[in-house]
């Protein structure tokens, strides 16, 4: 078979970027460069989301993660980056320990990822079946309006189950992820207020307009 599967090519490219820069995050010592590598890695993950058909999620990853969280992080880095703090080294022993644990974990995960046959992708010789499968799963619809589906999914309307008889489209008496959604919304507000409070600092400085002696040096 000599037709190139572009989907795979792009997957390989993005996967290489994501993994490569993730490794770079671990290896690089400078905290700012670390943040940059992380940004690239996360952006590549967003690309992988696109490839997996989760467009909305990919865009959300770019916007919230790469655009918001990482800016916040870099902001924090810049606020606290002073010469000696930019790169802090740890001992070799800890490195070895971390690597051993990491490699062991990776081996387990790899084993799990490749062992289940049902997790292997549609083989090339099954390709003829793909459109049919897509139709059956309403994959076309899934790609048509992923965001709308996602939104309705939050409300408990499962459009991806339209064609399945065994699971209900609308869960009786349940509202999907609505409760979780609400909780997270409230959580976010709490977090915002809390973060603002934590980062806030009171301190005494000599007020230039009151010429009284300074009660406490800053």
């Amino acid at each position: 078979m000599d037709t190139i599967n572009w989907h795979s090519c792009f997957f390989l490219l993005l996967a290489a970027i994501a993994c490569g820069f993730a490794v770079a995050v671990v290896v690089v010592g400078d905290i700012v460069r670390m943040a940059c590598c992380l940004v690239v890695s996360l952006a590549a993950v967003a690309g992988l989301f696109f490839l997996a058909g989760a467009e909305f999620l990919g865009a959300a990853q770019l916007m919230v993660y790469v655009g918001g969280t990482m800016v916040l992080l870099i902001f924090g880095v810049m606020l606290t980056a002073r010469g000696p703090l930019v790169s802090m080294k740890i001992g070799g022993g800890q490195w070895v320990l971390a690597l051993v644990i990491g490699v062991a974990l990776f081996a387990v995960l790899l084993q799990a990822a490749t062992s289940t046959s049902a997790w292997n992708g549609p083989k090339a010789n099954d390709q003829a079946a793909v459109p049919a499968a897509a139709k059956q799963d309403d994959g076309a619809a899934a790609e048509q309006d992923a965001a709308g589906q996602l939104g309705l999914g939050l409300l408990g309307v499962r459009e991806d189950r339209l064609h399945r008889q065994d699971k209900p489209v609308l869960l009786g008496g349940m509202s999907g992820y609505l409760l979780a959604f609400e909780i997270i919304s409230v959580h976010l507000v709490v977090v915002l207020v809390g973060a603002a409070y934590l980062a806030r600092a009171r301190r005494r400085i000599r007020n230039p307009e009151s010429r009284a002696p300074n009660p406490e040096s800053p």
Binding site: N5, S8, C9, L12, A18, V23, V25, V26, I31, A35, S41, L42, V45, L48, F49, A52, G53, A54, L57, V64, Y65, T69, L72, F75, G76, T80, L85, M88, W95, L97, L99, I101, G102, L105, F106, L109, A118, W119, G121, P122, K123, A124, D126, A133, Q136, G139, A142, A146, L150, R158, E159, D160, I184, H187, L188, A196, Y197, L198, A199, A201
Partner: protein, 114 residues
Amino acid sequence: MSIFTEPVGLSHFLVVGAVLFVCGVICMATKRNVLGVLMGIELVLNGANLNFVAFGSSVLRPPGTEGIGMDGQMIALFVIVLAAAEAAVALAIALSYYHAHATVDVDRGDELRG
């Protein structure tokens, strides 16, 4: 049959997720900078996210098998949002830690203080 012509499957994504996850764990273990640890956490969360999305994706499955459907994406969405919130709080803690200790070295913050 090269990797270029074969369609990618679920396990490919899982491997990438595993790499990200492990990198994140190692990062958390080896960095002494508070913010470095934070970045490790982000990587771990992303690895997990990738798995969720992959499990939920209909593109990556052999026909006839059933994934977790929309749930994967929704959980991933929640993870993204929560990660953002977590980053904000962690950053605020890091900042006030920095004010208190004039450093961002996690190993130095070994006492509880009001």
